[in-house]
């Protein structure tokens, strides 16, 4: 959003409307993220419990922002806890988070005209939920994205910290393990409106079922490859 100003530095009425709209979209994004964060609470507590059990809790906690991905974070700490060494942990973490390339590339068209600083800020806070939420937004999608992403970027470390204190007993309930997947699955399902997207999702689901025994990183990379291929084929027949 760019604004002009009169010689006295006061915004024009049009500029004020732009600013109000931007704030509206920011708030809408943050509000849309709240129920997703609520569903993420048990998973955050699980991650917090793993941080508390780590042999280096300070570094493990810093991963909340450094890695900024619950699945990769948990996978890295689990591998290290099993004594498999830092190299294996890095390989697993990198594979699990490789999907971020797809998210960032998918965002690119909508952010081409954004200043470099905005693109960098959007990149730092990029993860599954804000990407999926903002994808369906047409109006004010950048401000909406920043609202959603900022809410999670600030809230996630707080939730994980809570997990460090109390996560052990809460995460013992088996149903808790379903919450992150249920949340993400719901957000993806709401976007199944175009044939290539449906083809990508369905083929990836089948691939995930067939590769359930493989490591998460490899399985998800296969899902991505099969999903893209199916999407391309479906588009040929559209």
């Amino acid at each position: 959003m760019t604004t002009s100003s009169t010689p006295s530095g006061v915004l024009t009425a049009g500029d004020e409307q732009l600013v109000r709209n931007s704030h509206h979209h920011l708030r809408a994004g943050a509000t849309a993220m709240l129920p997703i964060m609520a569903a993420y609470v048990p998973f955050a507590l699980l991650v917090g419990a793993a941080v508390a059990d780590s042999s280096n809790p300070a570094a493990a906690w810093l991963a909340t922002w450094a890695i900024y991905g619950g699945a990769a974070h948990l996978a890295v700490l689990d591998v290290l806890a099993q004594g498999s060494g830092w190299l294996t942990a890095v390989a697993v973490g990198v594979l699990v988070n490789a999907r971020l390339v797809a998210y960032a590339a998918g965002m690119a068209p909508g952010w081409r005209s954004a200043p470099l600083r905005q693109r960098a800020g959007a990149a730092v806070m990029l993860t599954d939920a804000p990407w999926t939420l903002a994808r369906a937004r047409v109006d004010g999608h950048r401000s909406y994205y920043f609202g959603a992403a900022s809410a999670l970027f600030l809230g996630w470390p707080v939730l994980v910290s809570l997990g460090v204190l109390v996560g052990g007993w809460f995460s013992a309930a088996p149903v808790v393990g379903l919450l992150p997947a249920l949340t993400l699955g719901v957000v993806v399902t709401s976007q199944l409106q175009e044939r290539p997207v449906v083809a990508a999702a369905v083929s990836a689901a089948v691939t995930a079922a067939l590769t359930a025994g493989l490591s998460a990183g490899i399985s998800l990379l296969l899902c991505a490859a099969v999903g893209v291929t199916s999407g391309v084929v479906a588009e040929w027949f559209r």
């Binding site: 960032a104 068209p109 730092v124 379903l178 249920l182 719901v186 709401s190 999903g227 199916s230």
Partner: protein, 114 residues
């Protein structure tokens, strides 16, 4: 190498790689073709679909294991299916997740009572 140092190195390395994954496509956004971006979006949604399915199939609940039969993935599939069917009909995230969880708890309770 000490366990503490290994945690620090792993966190730093995965963090640096994750930041590059996020930054590079967006920093070079003006040069990225629309077609590549669209296919990247399909890849992203495919990954999320894969995460959902993997979580269901790898779901573990000791209470739902009877002998050699593990009913946990089946119950998880029903529960997640309930939530996703509501999502397809346009219900909010909270409602869908709440119904999914309630479904899991309800089905588990019935199975345990049998």
């Amino acid at each position: 190498m000490s366990a503490e140092a290994q945690v620090g190195i792993a966190v730093f390395a995965v963090g640096a790689a994750s930041l590059l994954f996020r930054l590079v496509p967006l920093l070079f956004a003006p040069r990225l073709p629309d077609r590549a971006a669209q296919q990247a979006t399909w890849a992203g949604l495919a990954v999320l679909a894969g995460v959902t399915v993997r979580s269901v199939l790898n779901h573990h609940d000791q209470a739902l294991v009877t002998g050699s039969v593990n009913l946990a993935p089946l119950v998880a599939a029903f529960a997640v299916g309930m939530g996703l069917s509501l999502a397809y009909r346009g219900r909010s995230v909270l409602v869908c997740v709440a119904v999914g969880i309630a479904g899991y708890v309800g089905i588990s309770t019935v199975l345990l009572a049998l």
